[in-house]
């Protein structure tokens, strides 16, 4: 039926036709009354639909813009007449005038109470405003959609927030002052924050809500993030106040001169400020306040704190105060990625401690080498002491290293920068000890001989690892190699190694650490040893097969060493002085010849040179006691000692041989002969020979008797050679010797490197060549620049290289 009635599509029923004025006023009356009720929180029985319809009708009659302005006006009036007076009433004079009164407790309390009262009121008005505006916006939804879009106005909510900002916050508190509510809010909040910083408890949520307000209000109606009132007005003031506060606090703390306290307070402040941003102020400020803290409190003072006399980092390191060290580290790393003051102190500390260890190790340095024979006896002791001190040196360094490793992990959070700083320092002081390579090698020697007995594999492993760490610091690795080789050769030849496994392990560790080239020779030493074992057993077989003659063959255990791989100085004793090899007794000589025959039949074209100084022999000696009894002992002596003792086989009882006689008959080098005679005739427990006159020194005129009264509770007696057999710290001469040899070897290495490089590059400027050489050799040692220059000169002389240019000086390779 409706269809019929409306054949033609009607013009819109609403608005247009009706009388505009009355409708508008009537609708507005209804609407404005309700809006006021919303503000007075009396809205629960208002009908949304009705209010919406009122607004809708106004807008449909094209009066939307008027409505917008009316609502704004209504809001303005409401804020001006009601809200502003509430807020202003809540501001007590103490808030207005006591701007900086933190000093007097009473005033502070009063101000605090007043401030909290004020904040409560402000917070309530704000929240009410927000709530009512939310509801009003809901009702005026249609207006926002239509009018606002048409006229490019901010939505009514935004507009009313701007009104709140201007009318409530930005208006003077009293007619006669310029101070605005926002100012009071700012100073009050800052005051409360100040209170909290000085340790009092304040009502955080209250402040937080007021800050919410500042975060919810904007400078502009477009509401950009950056125009939040919080960011434009409150935050700068807060940061400024914090800056002054922390400047003062930093000063105070430094003056009180206790680094630990400083760190503790600073750490607390950091967490405190972070928490304050999260729970009292705004998280927006977190990074900014952090910056203030970093700059004002930490950056300004950290260097001073680190260096504080008596309580600074130095002290912490000494006292192992890891927790505080950690704080120092954390603080430093906040402001400076390099942590310059901290690293400087730590490095200095390490170097100082290291130097202490160095001096301790070298303190009982060998007094100027006594030249006379008189000194021989006395020399014994300091030498031993030196060995122990060398080992102590290594142990001390390891302890130090361990300590700093712990500090690094615990306090410095495994920081890379700190690690490299520590490493450099260690390397510095270790290399500042010229004997570091020798000491370290001695340390290994000691441990491989005795130290590792009764230890588990993993213990051995970590022990070796520790040593290897030190090796890492040592720059002159070739020097270390030389010492190690020497020590190793002794261990191998004298069979003093506690465990071959450990030895091999050590080699493989070094291989990993320093490289293949470094261990090549050491490995070949091991190889020689195994080959020799085979050789020995082969020779025994050979003897047994051809055993026709004597029923008492001399057992021969032989080590054939490749001369280039083993330390030179083992052989040097015979080489240095042009001397014939010693005369072996007949029995031994025949064995020697038989072996040479055997060996050369297998490897033709080789030359065997016999190192009597390195060998040992087991001999059976019969002692005729004066009471007629005979006593047999098996003596384990050095080869030389054996030769000497065998001489006495031909000497009638009671007869004697002089030193000169022995020497001429054996042709044992003086040096060795003296030592062997000392061990046979002087050492109290192994006095197989008697000497006349009885003294420590061995003089060419001394006479020696076979000592039939030799007593020992053991059947087997080991007679060591005085010194030389054990690895000990070298004396100055030896060291010079070693250094000389080292330099020769280095010279060869440098030449090799230069030739290698030039062969590849053909021509190269001087500076480049230098840097490449340094680069190639740095893993082994730090070459002396002058030495390289000299070597280059020498290569030019020998026509390996030629000068091809002068500016810059350039070399060419001569093929």
């Amino acid at each position: 039926m409706a269809m019929r009635a409306r054949q033609k599509i009607r013009a819109p029923r609403k608005g247009l036709a009706s009388s505009k004025g009355d409708d508008f006023e009537a609708n507005w009356q209804a609407l404005s009354g309700s809006l006021k009720r919303i503000h007075t929180k009396d809205a629960s029985d208002l009908s949304f639909e009705q209010l919406y319809r009122n607004a809708y009708n106004i807008i449909v009659t094209m009066r939307g813009h008027d409505l917008y302005e009316r609502v704004k006006q209504l809001e303005r009036e409401w804020l001006e007449t009601e809200v502003r007076s509430w807020v202003n009433a809540a501001i007590s004079p103490s808030l207005l005038f006591a701007q900086d009164a933190l000093d007097i407790q009473d005033q502070a309390n009063e101000r605090r109470a007043a401030g909290e009262r004020f904040l409560t009121v402000l917070r309530e008005t704000w929240e009410d405003h927000q709530l009512s505006m939310g509801m009003i916006t809901d009702v005026l939804m249609y207006m926002d959609r239509v009018v606002v879009a048409d006229h490019r106005k901010p939505s009514i909510y935004v507009a009313s927030m701007a009104l709140f900002r201007d009318i409530v916050l930005r208006s003077p508190v009293r007619p006669d002052t310029k101070t605005t509510v926002a100012d009071v809010l700012e100073s009050t909040v800052l005051f409360l924050v100040q209170l909290e910083r000085s340790g009092q408890i304040i009502e955080r949520p209250l402040i937080r809500h007021c800050i919410y307000m500042l975060e919810g209000l904007y400078e502009t109606i477009t509401e950009e993030e950056s125009s939040k009132l919080y960011l434009t007005s409150f935050e700068p003031a807060f940061l400024e106040a914090s800056k002054t506060f922390y400047q003062k606090e930093g000063q105070r703390l430094v003056e009180s001169a206790d680094a630990a306290t400083f760190c503790k307070v600073a750490m607390e402040r950091i967490t405190e400020e972070k928490e304050r941003c999260a729970s009292t102020l705004s998280t927006l400020s977190e990074s900014k306040i952090k910056e203030v803290l970093d700059n004002e409190l930490i950056k300004r003072n950290i260097a001073e704190v680190v260096n504080l006399e008596g309580t600074g980092v130095r002290n912490m390191l000494d006292q192992d105060r890891l927790d505080i060290l950690r704080s120092v580290y954390v603080l430093s790393s906040r402001v400076d990625s390099k942590k310059a003051p901290l690293t400087a102190v730590v490095q200095k500390c390490i170097v100082d401690m290291g130097q202490e260890i160095n001096t301790l190790a070298t303190a009982p340095a060998p007094a100027p080498e006594p030249t006379g024979k008189k000194a021989v006896k006395e020399k014994e002791k300091p030498m031993n002491q030196q060995t122990t001190s060398a080992i102590k040196w290594v142990d001390d360094i390891l302890a130090l290293k361990k300590k700093f490793d712990a500090i690094w992990v615990d306090s410095f959070m495994s920081d890379q920068v700190m690690q490299s700083a520590i490493t450099t320092s260690f390397s510095d002081f270790i290399n500042s000890n010229p004997r570091s390579s020798e000491h370290l090698s001695l340390f290994f020697d000691e441990n491989l001989k005795k130290g590792i007995k009764g230890k588990t594999d993993s213990e051995v492993d970590s022990l070796l690892d520790n040593g290897i760490t030190l090796l890492r610091y040592i720059k002159d690795k070739d020097l270390f190699e030389a010492y190690y080789k020497k020590h190793l050769s002794r261990r191998l030849l004298m069979k003093r190694s506690a465990s071959m496994d450990a030895e091999r392990q050590m080699i493989s560790k070094m291989k990993m650490e320093v490289g293949n080239q470094f261990t090549q020779r050491l490995e070949s030493m091991f190889k020689d040893m195994t080959i020799s074992e085979d050789l020995t057993s082969n020779y025994k077989d050979h003897i047994r097969k051809s055993a026709s003659q004597d029923s008492k063959p001399v057992d021969l255990e032989i080590n054939v060493l490749t001369s280039t791989m083993w330390p030179m100085e083992i052989m040097s004793n015979t080489r240095d002085e042009v001397q014939l090899s010693c005369v072996f007794p007949r029995e031994v000589e025949s064995v020697k010849q038989s072996f040479e025959q055997f060996y050369l039949s297998k490897h033709s074209g080789r030359k065997l040179s016999w190192q009597a100084s390195m060998g040992t022999a087991d001999i059976r000696a019969t002692f005729q006691r004066p009471n007629g009894k005979t006593q047999r002992h098996e003596l384990n002596v050095s080869t030389y000692a054996m030769i000497i003792l065998l001489l006495f086989n031909d000497v009638a009882p009671g007869e004697s041989l002089t030193f000169a006689e022995i020497q001429s008959r054996t042709r044992i080098p003086d040096h060795d002969l003296i030592r062997n005679l000392q061990s046979l005739a002087v050492a109290p427990k192994t006095r197989v020979l008697k000497k006349e006159p009885m003294s420590r020194e061995v003089k060419p005129t001394d006479r020696f008797f076979f000592n039939h009264e030799f007593q020992s509770q053991f059947t087997k007696v080991r007679i060591g050679v005085v010194s030389g057999s054990a690895n000990k710290v070298e004396n100055n001469d030896q060291r010079k010797e070693t250094e000389k040899k080292m330099n020769e070897e280095r010279g060869a290495s440098i030449e090799a490197a230069v030739v290698r490089i030039m062969k590849q590059r053909k021509t190269l400027p001087h500076s480049k060549l230098m840097s490449e050489v340094l680069g190639q050799l740095s893993s082994r040692f730090v070459p002396d620049v002058n030495m390289i220059k000299r070597r280059i000169e020498s290569l030019i002389d020998r026509e390996y290289l030629e000068r091809v240019g002068e500016d810059p000086p350039t070399y060419g390779y001569i093929a």
Binding site: A2, M3, A5, R6, Q7, K8, I9, R10, A11, P12, R13, K14, G15, L16, A43, S44, D45, L46, S47, F48, E49, Q50, L51, Y52, R53, Y56, V60, G134, M135, D138, V139, M141, Y142, R145, V146, A149, D150, H151
Partner: protein, 617 residues
């Protein structure tokens, strides 16, 4: 256009064959089923002719717009082939598919008569368009997670999770719940047997709320159930709640195309269920009371149809029977569905009276006629928006007031299609007499368009006016309208052009130009356009010209323009330019000249109006 992603012909054919096989096996539903029914044939014919009105009617009747005819043409192909831009747009908006890489979709694209249509088709490419029912489904699904305002009225506890659900949704979607709730409509909570995995129930509920079937069953370690247990649970739940398609949906969720089809079927089914329930319970329970007594109606909160709000619409004064009390109609509704309107959403979220829960249901007055409110509710509950032209303007206003954008668009579409008559054949429309024009108060429409800010309606009105400008141009009402349009712009202070006038000029141009273009005689048109300038008296007598135009059009309808004839006539005219008016026999030549003249006359008149107004202002 970048055609790089177009399939090669052989690829297309292969996929076509595969698709056919699938359809034959029944695995895949045919997107374009063959339809030989009479209404579909009518739709196709309307699409050929570009008859917007008939198209809209047929679509409203429920003809499948994605079907194909005996020659494998879909309505969309026809419309785009015949170059009816408006029809193409209507079809696309109503859910016609134009998917690239499908046989039919590509046909649409390469058949498109001009670039404008082609671009429109590309805009609506399937990947961008959505199932028309998707908003409804999305809303229902969102109810499960929505916290404000509270709309749920039953709590189902499954394990240690509890789901806040809506009785009316359950009742509408599941026969099981319907029976259960019918037995005890008041029960505020329901506990799930512990044997059913909560996940399974959750999935089933989500399914009932038209959410997507999950890819992942949320089983495995940590949940306490294995996948097969959950699966079995779902099976049991589905059986229990009588939602037999759930399991298939989950199994098929791997195949995207199949899943999509299943989903749209399921959503359509869900909508139908909701609709049935809505019609039976909401509309079935509406009550008519005298307006004065409406407020005394008390509906208990606990009621059999789970309504939680009453909407009141007062009868219009002019509909009321004379002498009797004004009547109102109350609809029992569910907030959960009303939330789709921003108006109601705000109403229930804000802290006004309507938001508080009381023993008796609130009665909320909605400022529209009961008829319109029913349309609005139908849309909110079912996404259906089929209504006749005569209430379209009211629906437009109501949906604008209630912030239901889609319904508003729909109303605009109804007005601009059903009200259009047949624009592209304006001459024909005119000959059909004047009754049609009276159907529409175009001035009212344009004002409504302005008030409700519907661009489409403004355009429609401008086009409408442009095609019938002869009838309106001299009326004072028209001048007033132009002035109003001008003042609207002044308020905005954007530019000094008048929007309505610009629009009218545009469509005027289109109206005449279209005819020339159709005939392929664009060049001639340019020549013709110069003619009136040479002979100003020709355009002076507008009335006379129009009469002639009518006379001419009477005759021309039957005469087809042949391209052979055109050049010939052009030559003729060039030679005999001064004698055009006297040569009555040369109809074809006259036709174009008349158009050109008319165009110039109308444009001049528009300028005159503008001048007048500017002087007045």
């Amino acid at each position: 256009m970048t055609d790089r992603n177009v399939l090669r012909k052989d690829q297309l054919e292969i996929s076509l064959v595969k698709e056919k096989e699938l359809i034959k096996e029944g695995n895949l539903k045919d997107d374009n089923p063959l339809d030989l029914s009479e209404p579909f044939a009518e739709l196709c014919s309307a699409c050929r002719k570009g008859d917007l009105k008939v198209c809209q009617e047929k679509i409203t009747e429920g003809v499948n717009i994605n079907a194909r005819d005996a020659y494998d043409y879909t309505p969309l192909i026809l419309a785009s082939l015949c170059g009816h831009y408006e029809v193409v747009r209507l079809l696309l908006e109503s859910g016609a598919l134009c998917e690239r890489d499908t046989f039919q979709g590509e046909r649409c694209l390469y058949n498109a008569l001009n670039d404008r249509i082609r671009n429109l088709l590309l805009e609506y490419d399937y990947s961008k368009s959505t199932d028309p029912l998707q908003p409804l489904a999305a809303h229902l699904a969102s109810l499960l997670t929505r916290e404000q305002p509270v709309t749920s009225d039953i709590v189902v506890t499954a394990g240690d999770e509890s789901l806040h659900l809506h009785k009316f949704v359950l009742a509408a979607r599941s026969p099981y719940f319907r029976n259960k709730l019918a037995a005890a409509p008041e029960s505020p909570s329901w506990k799930l047997p512990s044997t059913i995995p909560p996940q399974a129930f959750g999935i089933a509920i989500k399914y009932l709320y038209l959410g997507e079937a999950p890819r992942d069953l949320k089983s495995g370690p940590g949940t306490g159930f294995t996948e097969s247990e959950v699966f079995e649970g779902i099976d049991r739940v589905a059986h229990h709640l009588e939602i037999d398609t759930l399991l298939d949906s989950i199994i098929d969720s791997g195949d995207r195309r199949l899943a999509r089809q299943r989903r749209s079927t399921e959503i359509a089914k869900g909508r139908d269920q909701l609709e049935t329930w809505f019609r039976a319970n909401v509309l079935g329970n509406k009550l008519e009371v005298e307006t004065s007594k409406a407020n005394s109606v008390k509906w208990d909160r606990e009621n059999a149809i789970f309504a939680d709000i009453l909407l009141q619409a007062d009868e219009l004064p002019e509909d009321a029977e004379p002498g009797s009390e004004p009547k109102s109609i109350l609809f029992p509704c569910h907030r959960a569905m009303l939330l789709r309107s921003e108006f109601f959403n705000t109403m229930f979220s804000s802290m006004f009276r309507e938001a508080y829960v009381k023993d008796h249901l609130h009665i909320v007055n909605v400022d529209c006629s009961p008829e319109v409110l029913e349309i609005v509710l139908t849309f909110l509950y079912t996404e259906r928006a089929d209504f006749p032209l005569d209430v379209a303007v009211d629906v437009l206003f109501a949906s604008d007031m209630l912030f239901i954008e889609k319904l508003k668009t729909k109303a605009a579409v109804v007005i601009s299609t059903l009200g259009s008559g047949n624009l592209s054949q304006s001459e024909a429309a005119k000959t059909r007499g004047t009754t049609e024009e009276e159907e529409l108060d175009i001035y009212g429409i344009i004002r409504a368009a302005w008030m409700t800010r519907v661009q489409r309606l403004e355009e429609f009105a401008a086009r409408y006016l442009a095609y019938r400008l002869e009838a309106h141009i001299d009326s004072p009402e028209f001048a007033e309208l132009i002035e109003e349009s001008a003042s609207r712009i002044k308020a905005r202070q954007e530019t000094d052009s008048i929007e309505l006038l610009d629009d009218i000029r545009f469509y005027l141009n289109e109206r005449f130009r279209l005819r020339f273009d159709d005939a392929g005689l664009g060049e001639m048109m340019r020549n013709a356009a110069q003619q009136p300038h040479k002979a100003p008296p020709a355009g002076a007598d507008a009335d006379g010209t129009e009469k002639e135009v009518e006379k001419v059009t009477n005759g021309i309808d039957t005469i087809d323009l042949s391209k052979v004839a055109a050049p010939a006539s052009q030559q003729d005219r060039d030679h005999h330019a001064p004698v055009i008016r006297t040569l009555d026999g040369e109809i074809a030549v006259d036709e174009f000249d008349k158009d050109a003249a008319n165009y110039q006359i109308l444009m001049a008149k528009l300028d005159a109006i503008l001048e007048d107004l500017n002087l007045e202002a």
